[in-house]
Symmetry: C2
Subunit: 187 residues, 2 copies
């Protein structure tokens, strides 16, 4: 899987053959097909692994009684951390997107977690409304999509040019701006 | 160029040969190389065309004395319009990104306009500070990157699943949230 990620990142999914992956990994084709029925299945396993890592970093830490705005700010700081640690893997992230736009199985594997994230963020905003930290008239679904869009845009631009902006600062400020707008104002 | 966009969108840049492009366009290879020295040059011309279209839609309309927040809201509505009109071209947009991450010439052609957009949005925020509609303590560079990140994230997700969310509504709300945060509050 590591050899495949390196090859896909450098040459793209389509241009990387099972032969080349086996050669890079130093394994036989028999060993490859023992684990993965096809190159596509290998690709899907890489997506699953990648998403499990994102899940673990973003959603598994307990809230410790933090308010929803505090949790979102913590996540914003962690996105920067995930981003820095995973920056070598990001060309792979774009391969997921390109393949997803062309292939139903990849599409399903990519979209299902997206919808899950969207649901988790929307749930968090609803929790904020319940606890009184977020204004009750905001639409949790829309706020959730705005947060995810911001994160996806920052990740993508980080692939193209990590040095172009301070992406940690953009993440932190962007989330804070959205919170400024949806938080119940102190009176 | 139209035939190439169709082929690149369907099969990807790497998998589409000059032969196939010529066949789809019904032209000879001689005619192709009369206009473009290489497949890469054709690709760069497509990027240029695409970006000229974005420029024309977003930045050329006169402000008509509108305030900066009004202009940004107008742009948000127009991004939705650009997005709907160009949705068939969006797989191409992802090809730009993938190729840019691998190829210096494509990288330059893609990054230069990005930096220009960033400068234009930052200038707009500065103008808002000058006219008094935007709080003087905000950082125009950061706000500009947050706006661009939001737009890029929305465009990318629209490629993957146009039906997943009401992207026009996400765009409009996201820009409004950022404005809520940076606008000078009425007292």
């Amino acid at each position: 899987m590591e050899s495949a990620v390196q090859l896909f990142s450098r040459s793209g999914y389509d241009a990387s053959s099972v032969d080349e992956i086996c050669q890079a990994a130093g394994i036989s084709k028999g060993a490859f097909y023992h684990h993965f029925p096809s190159k596509q299945q290998l690709f899907l396993s890489i997506i699953e692994d990648w998403l499990r890592g994102v899940d673990a970093q973003l959603f598994t830490q307990p809230g410790n009684g933090a308010s929803v705005p505090q949790s979102l700010n913590r996540m914003a700081r962690m996105l920067g951390f995930v981003f820095n640690a995973a920056s070598g893997q990001l060309p792979m992230f774009m391969e997921f997107m390109v393949q997803a736009s062309r292939d139903q199985a990849v599409w399903d594997a990519t979209i299902a977690p997206y919808r899950r994230y969207q649901g988790q963020f929307a749930g968090l905003i609803e929790q904020g409304i319940t606890e009184g930290s977020i204004r009750p008239e905001v639409n949790p679904q829309t706020v959730s999509w705005v947060l995810i869009s911001l994160a996806v845009g920052i990740l993508l631009q980080g692939v193209i040019d990590p040095e172009m902006a301070d992406w940690n600062e953009v993440t932190r400020s962007g989330v804070q701006m959205i919170l400024d707008s949806v938080q119940r104002r102190e009176t």
